[in-house]
């Protein structure tokens, strides 16, 4: 158990902002490690850490709240789908865009469930002013962005963008894959 915990610690320091959907499911502190190990077919360190973080978050934001403070606890984010349709959702402060998208049935992929290993959660921040309000991506995020489809100047990984008050009103586009895999030199005529 000890090596595992210290690995968790290291991870926590390295990736303090990551969030996962899986993590969110596991919010009973006591059985955290066990529950996690059973749930995933490959044991993954990150989601557990993240669930810890979620526990902290949920205690911090729970309790009686009046309208105004509740308004401050959430921001509004608009997702622009591949087909151009839009969906505006409210996202609790501290939640990742990946998690928020999944809770609202927005088709944002999250193959690695927020552990910075897949780049499928790629989103494009549509307004550069909002982009500039985000902290710079860590090296590890940039490494994955290198491989993201349709990378733009304002691309980020949805699992690394965490809701904070300044981001209220942000618009995020899901990238549209434009690459044609068939083409690699020639295009035969279809019949």
């Amino acid at each position: 158990m000890f090596p595992r915990i210290s690995r968790l610690g290291a991870r926590l320091l390295r990736e303090p902002r990551a969030e996962t959907r899986a993590g969110n499911l596991l919010n009973s502190g006591g059985i955290l490690y066990q529950g996690h190990v059973n749930r995933h077919s490959t044991p993954v360190v990150t989601p557990t850490v993240l669930s810890l973080r979620n526990v902290l978050l949920s205690t911090a934001t729970s309790g009686d709240q009046d309208e105004s403070s509740q308004a401050k606890d959430k921001i509004s984010v608009t997702f622009v789908n591949k087909d151009g349709s839009e969906k505006t959702i409210s996202v609790p402060i501290g939640m990742s865009m990946l998690e928020a998208a999944h809770e609202n049935d927005i088709e944002l992929e999250g193959a690695c469930e927020g552990s910075l290993a897949c780049s499928t959660c790629h989103v494009i921040v549509m307004d550069v002013n909002y982009y500039n309000k985000l902290e710079d991506p860590a090296d590890e995020e940039n490494d994955m962005l290198d491989l993201a489809f349709g990378l733009t100047e304002t691309s980020r990984l949805g699992c690394q963008v965490i809701a904070k008050p300044e981001l209220d009103g942000m618009r995020l586009a899901l990238p549209v894959a434009t690459r044609n895999f068939a083409v690699d030199g020639y295009v035969p005529k279809p019949h």
Binding site: T42, V44, A111, D139, D143, D146, F181, P190
Partner: protein
Amino acid sequence: MARGLWFLSRAVGRLRPLLVQGPTRGFSASAPEQLHVCVVGSGPAGFYTADRMLKGHEGAQVDIIDRLPTPFGLVRSGVAPDHPETKIVVNQFSRVAANGRCSFFGNVTLGRDISLSELHKTYHAVVLAYGAESDRSLGIPGEDLRGIHSAREFVWWYNGHPDMCDLCPDLKNTESAVVLGQGNVALDVARILLRCKAELATTDITDYALDALRGSTIRKVYLVGRRGPVQAACTAKELREILGLKNVRICIKESDLLTTPADEEEMRNSRIQRRVYELLSKAASAHGGNNYNDQKELHFLFFRRPTRFIPAENGSTIGAVQLEKTVLKGDEVTGKQVAVGTGEFEDLKCGLVLKSIGYKSLPVQGLPFDKNRGVVPNLRGRVLNSESETATVERGLYVVGWLKRGPTGIVATNLHCAEETVASILEDDKKGVLRPPSDSKKHGRTGLLEILEQKNVRFVPFSGWEKIDSMEKMAGQLRNKPREKITTWDGLQKAANE
């Protein structure tokens, strides 16, 4: 259970022709008409295809066959054991398999247990996603010497692919290993050779591989590339990881880092090349401070191409690799910088060579195949009958993943690749190409089960894999590992039938 299913779907299959209802079929809110799809191969390309197919067509019934009793392709047998995060995607794939309109048939090999024409007759659409299970060869003298393996074999070995569990690479007779290639797979195998064994012990690496690595005498690993640091084919993520290995000294010649205007131009156009180059330059100037006695070494050798394998004194095992120095020249046609030999040679002593110069797909009977590129000729996923300009589309036949694009890209690349192929299928179906009213003979799953029964093929359903999965996890728990893989055909089949 299989029997019950068999009769039920056969009944549905019989009824189907009566239900044909003009242009809206497949999209009506009530019982949508069935579209029988078979996906061959259960790697990322296969599962993403199944996922998009199920989402894109309410009547799609998707059967995934795989030659192994275990699903997930290279996510299980390729992705390195110390990359557990990359494997999380199997959670998503398992949800796809749990869909009532999707079935998994493991232990069924296309080309042996069932032919392409049989599948073609049984399904409205057949999607080939069987990856790339062979290797490019260098075609230089001595390639058959003992101690030379393809990276694919070595990776399958440490990851417990049942075809390679007996490889037994000799890691004990030498202190130097040469890895030919500088892509991500090359970095994977180098990292596994060099990584501290205590770290590996907590991964899902097979126990026999861990034992062999514990006994390994290899202290130096050479990563050999024909071109320079600007052209290194790895990603920044993998490079950053290997450069940060505990107790490994990184050796890069400063002179190799000099860049030409053509290099600068390449880097301006490619973010990834620029970032890889930056990491290499930083590592070259870092000169690891403390020098432990047991420190290992990772050498990046640029501008070298292998020309000959030289046997050791015994005449049968590898003793050294002859390398020719290269320089870069702009190719007049492609504009790319290519490596050309200078006629200057040197020998690099070693007792193990891992060739990581590319995977290659295998053809199956009846399938058009581009031998040069090692892929199936296709147009946005539609199989073409040849690679010529006048090629025509093979009706109902599609391709996806490494078999379609060649062996490059990450797991996520297959997602976009699958979306393209599925878009082609849906388009063809809308046009009525896949289910002409006259054709009512395609029974899908019912037909497949019939064929498998006739041929006495014992397939492993997804529930069989789940048994393997839980046995592996249980065995892993005892050793503080995520899982202890079952690595033999026999063992897998037994576990699946428990």
